[in-house]
């Protein structure tokens, strides 16, 4: 069964980027610390694989997904991943306005949330769908379309920046903590959204 897995690095105070994030500075001021658990890389996504066992495991899980859902901000701030997030799987970019210029590579713009998730799941087949970016996360959470939450919690307070959990309705979403892994200076928490009944 294909699960939509929200996958984000986050500070203890809940930020996924520092202040003033933008196309030139995707993680905002001081936000780089949130991705320090990933290896340096050199433009090739697979080269960000951490050396430690826990980091490598969660990294591999992210790259074993069969489709990606992201928001327009994240897509642009990440340089559109050069059109290929990993292994050429389809990248569905949620946006309010589809630009004239088509998305590069394996990416496509979508405006309808339900259709986006349905298409991503279909494309992923028996693999999971990777959900990335705060705005897209909030859109799917509001619609009850997130199945699992994988948080890479970095032991730091940023004080300000872009929050992962923001602008949500006051509806309780119950979760089960299904796995905790420790890496150097990061805690990998994996939650599953509990469904009623």
């Amino acid at each position: 069964m294909t699960a939509v897995v929200l996958d984000m690095s986050i500070s203890v105070d809940g930020f996924v980027a520092g202040p003033d994030d933008g196309p030139e500075h995707g993680l905002g001021i001081g936000g780089e610390v949130l991705h320090a658990w990933l290896a340096d890389g050199d433009g090739d996504p697979s080269s960000y694989r951490p050396a430690d066992e826990a980091g490598a495991l969660v990294f591999d899980e992210g790259l074993a997904t069969g489709a990606v859902i992201t928001g327009r901000h994240t897509f642009e701030y990440a340089g559109r991943w050069g059109g290929d997030h990993h292994d050429g799987v389809p990248v569905f970019v949620l946006t309010r306005t589809v630009p004239d210029e088509p998305a590069p590579g394996h990416a496509r713009y979508v405006t309808d949330l339900a259709a986006c998730v349905a298409q991503a799941k279909a494309a992923a087949g028996d693999r999971n769908v990777l959900l990335h970016g705060a705005t897209a996360a909030q859109a799917l959470l509001r619609a009850g379309l997130v199945d699992e939450v994988a948080l890479h919690v970095v032991p730091v307070l940023l004080g300000a920046g872009r929050r992962l959990f923001d602008d949500l309705p006051p509806d309780h979403v119950e979760l089960d903590l299904v796995r905790v892994l420790d890496g150097p200076d990061v805690q990998h928490l994996h939650y599953r959204v509990r469904r009623e009944g």
Binding site: V12, D13, G14, G18, P19, I29, G30, V33, L141, V149, P155, V156, L157, L158, G159, A160, G161, R163, L164, F165, L168, P169, P170, D171, H172, V173, E174, L175, D176, L177, V180, D182, Q187, Y191, R194
Partner: protein
Amino acid sequence: MATIRLYMTISLDGYVTGPRDDAENPLGIGGFRLFNWLDLRNDPGPSGQVYAEGTATRAVIAGRRTFELAGRWNGDHHDGVPILVLTHDVPDEPPPGSAHYLTDVRECAAQARAAAGEGDVLVHGAGAAQALLRAGELDELELNVVPVLLGQGRRLFDGLPAERVELELVRRLVTEDAAPAQRVMHLRYRVLSRGRSGPPAGTP
């Protein structure tokens, strides 16, 4: 020296109450969900341990808002230890029991450390936590993280300056055997430093 340690229960999305908390409904709408784990406060196991550690502290720091919403604890939070209440305006009426009003956060921290002696200091309330963090007087955070998204409410971490505070995870206790509604993860962090070039906080 006494450790000043924040004890707070938060949802996974960082709220310490549900929305619209006020005097009549101090935990906000639905905020009671956060405190189911306290059903296990007297049981052996992680939650009992954390609760016992909190009530073994020798002084309490709270913000005025928390103090009032908690009914001033009738002047005794636990064991008659001093309660230092941070407030912007000291009221004319003196506080009950072992409580004292203070307006200066550093003075408050110094008095709490002195009062706690060989023990530790329990901090309670988002306002007090933020004031102590800003002043670099918070040494540790014991966060009871409940596996629920509340969506809205009062945040623990809010209104802080864009200054990086380095933490170190020193302990994690997970209630694996508890019923789903009572499950919680107790995370203890030590504050290592604040600011990119500021002095270390809470050095012994």
